[in-house]
């Protein structure tokens, strides 16, 4: 029995994930200003939506999605990732989004299981 493994298909497509994440952020916080009361709802809404959209891709991956929302006050923020995984199959994608009053940084890590 021959198994065809198309290398492109089974590795993580970060462009696709990028578009999905951008759309999720826009739909949850696109029009709002930073608000201490809402921020909890926003971050959970964004990660929830991202994961559901990623699941719909139907790929054999485990996903980790993190989202940070920060008020714009002129402070700096840096994120760095270090990963020990299979570089051929696994991948990550980080999206930075900003509005007039806040920054939003979403990272998606996809770890293959096949």
């Amino acid at each position: 029995m021959e198994e065809f493994q198309n290398g492109n298909e089974s590795s993580f497509n970060s462009e696709e994930a990028d578009n999905i994440v951008k759309e999720c952020i826009e739909s949850v916080v696109g029009k709002d200003d930073y608000s201490q009361n809402q921020v909890n709802k926003w971050t959970s809404g964004i990660v929830e939506r991202c994961i559901s959209q990623l699941i719909k891709l139907g790929k054999p991956f485990k996903y980790i999605v993190t989202c940070a929302v920060m008020q714009k006050t002129g402070a700096g923020l840096h994120t760095a990732n270090s990963c020990y995984w299979d570089t051929a199959m696994d991948g990550s994608c980080t999206v930075r989004w900003e509005s007039r009053t806040m920054y939003c940084v979403v990272s998606v890590f996809a770890v293959s299981i096949a």
Binding site: V47, Y63, I64, M70, N81, S82, W85, F109
Partner: protein, 120 residues
């Protein structure tokens, strides 16, 4: 990744990702590298990368064979702004896990999260 023991589809209890142990590990390294450090926009990029690599190397020595690791480091300046971070994972809740810790001083805050995902 070595292919031996490939018949094992879940780790034994001793080999599982233990958040408490990894958290201690993270805390030690953060304290060592960040105590007394001021937020400096020029250095912080290097600092966050080196912290991530350092923590990843240390966690690798804990003997978590067959676990893929993802280390995320977030360093920000303390200026009284509000920050909120949340995460969600789609994985095998029985054997995959994560550990996190936060370090704060007067000029910066640093959050590190280490995720462990079992490779079947």
């Amino acid at each position: 990744m070595q292919g031996s023991d490939a018949y094992r589809i879940r780790p034994s209890h001793q080999d599982k990702f233990k958040p408490a142990i990894v958290k201690e590990c993270i805390r030690e390294i953060m304290r060592e590298q960040l105590s007394g450090v001021q937020y400096d926009p020029e250095n912080v990029q290097e600092l966050s990368k080196s912290l991530g690599d350092c923590i990843k190397d240390k966690v690798k020595t804990l003997g978590l064979d067959r676990y893929k690791l993802v280390v995320q480091v977030v360093i920000g300046e303390q200026r009284g702004q509000g920050v909120m971070m949340s995460l969600k994972c789609l994985w095998d809740a029985d054997i995959d896990n994560y550990a996190e810790d936060v370090f704060k001083n007067d000029s910066l805050f640093c959050l590190v999260a280490v995720f462990g995902s079992y490779y079947y």
